[in-house]
Amino acid sequence: MKSKTSVLLLIVLLLFALFPFVGEKFYVQLVAKVMIMAIFAMSLDLLVGYSGLVSLGHAAFFGLAGYVLARLAPQYEAASLWTSLPLALAACAAFALLTGLLVLRTSGVYFIMVTLAFAQMLFFVFHDTPLGGGSDGIYLYAKPELMLGGTSLLNLEDHRVFYWFVLGLVAAVYLLLQRLLDANFGRALIGIKSNEHRMRALGYDTFRYKLGIYMLSGMLAGLAGYLAAMQYGFVNPDILGWHTSGSVLVMVILGGMGTLHGAALGAFVFILLQEVLSNQAWFGPVAKHWQLAMGLFIIAVALFLPRGLAGLSGQRKLREETHG
């Protein structure tokens, strides 16, 4: 069973790796965007699906990392990836630590509200102060460079190279998280989600676990935000807004909470569907109202697939088990 999953994973990885050889530039960039959002969705799933912490402020980390990159980059030259990425992630970790110490004292609907509040604060910091260029945002004229001894290791300006770079990171994040969640740390999180009191009675300092996962989740969201800023060459306050937080939450719910591949799948379906439904060539004037169709789709999934799209295979498995 375990080896079957890894073979499947390897095949998926291979297919994705081959895609830039056949796909047009637009689609290669689109799939790179999807993969970036998959990292973002997986990071949120750590909170929502594994720890039972429904955050509506996850875009704060996503946007913060993007802004750190934008502020660090020299005006017309490339920033160094070696310094800007660690600094962006460190900023996210620090923000997670600072807010986590407060928000993790709450739970349920209160947690939703305080995470939203902190994200909105950050939104207005970048929106209303000279720090982030206001609602116009900041342009990045060159992608950060990965230099070693004076030579560039990867030409990230090339859309294919950038695509493989992102693919490598998605795979790395997925494997890292899978190992982490398989270890005792992951079980402790699942335990906390189902009953925190019980975990304390077993001698677990649950707050430390929650703070740990909150910081990790924030940093991974920061990684996604960094990559997104890198890809678009542009940051503006919208990437920190509640709209972005809401979208990524929908991706996680759509794909299936509590499964990493589900979150990634949710990101794929959400973004591709958005792309398809808003395509004027196919839907003409209706395309403007793509959110209506998207909403109906989300409602349908919530009604008929309570465990998300990833639950499709799970439900079949359950049936097989009951039949023998």
Partner: protein, 235 residues
């Protein structure tokens, strides 16, 4: 007299404005077995919750081996060697039987690991047959065994069993009683709360009877007369 394993004095606990415990004293020595009795709503579970730090007493003190833990966090108290089998069981339905057990594994305070994963499976052969099942897919009796097994994985010095046989079929309940007796005989101090007073009295060194948040009887089990049982426990 040696230092008690757990000693509480003058505990007053509240749920909001409701005054539940009215100055309860509680003491248990190493290896001792105490039967905690009383009708529903008399404060047994509240007392346990106050001892374990899940509920902060407004007055009184709780000491574990002389260490004041009255204001300590529950996980710190648990790490001092107190294990709790809550009423209504307490398995993690989304974890497998194996995971439920492994996650609790901890060496005892003195560094000894008397209760290993293998020993738990020897003690509860039914669990050994269901290692890969989710905690939620077990029968009530199996869930109870899992909860007790998980508590033992922490190699505790004190095991608190709150209504461990409630709602179980008589045959399963008998198995659980045999297991509890085995645990007691292995030298772990136990606090037993159960409706089956006969079984409790048979196992306990000392009995404590609670009525309306006060201890009305606290003495060796042999002195628990029929009068007391009739008057306070209504049997």
């Amino acid at each position: 007299m040696s230092e008690p394993l757990l000693e509480a004095r003058g505990i007053h606990s509240y749920y909001g404005a409701s005054h539940i415990l009215h100055g309860v004293d509680f003491r248990i020595d190493r290896g001792e077995t105490i039967g905690l009795m009383g009708r529903n709503g008399m404060g047994k579970t509240t007392l346990i919750r106050s001892l374990l730090g899940h509920l902060r007493p407004r007055a009184g003190s709780v000491k574990v081996r002389g260490l004041d833990v009255t204001q300590a966090a529950p996980y710190r108290i648990a790490r001092l060697g107190l294990a709790y089998v809550p009423e209504g069981r307490g398995i993690f339905p989304n974890l497998t039987v194996r995971e439920n057990l492994i996650m609790a594994a901890r060496a005892g305070l003195d560094g000894r690991c008397d209760w290993t994963y293998e020993r738990i499976l020897d003690t509860f052969p039914r669990l050994a047959e269901r290692l890969a099942n989710g905690g939620g897919e077990l029968s009530g009796g199996e869930q109870q065994m899992l909860t007790i097994g998980r508590a033992l994985m922490t190699n505790p010095q004190l095991l608190i069993l709150d209504e461990a046989t409630e709602g179980l079929a008589p045959l399963i309940a008998r198995d659980i009683w045999t297991i509890i007796r085995g645990i007691r005989d292995s030298g772990i101090a136990t606090v037993i709360v159960d409706k089956n007073y006969g079984a409790v009295i048979g196992l306990a060194d000392r009995c404590m009877v609670m009525v309306k948040g006060r201890a009305v009887f606290d003495d060796v089990a042999e002195k628990l007369s029929g009068d007391v049982v009739q008057k306070y426990l209504g049997v």
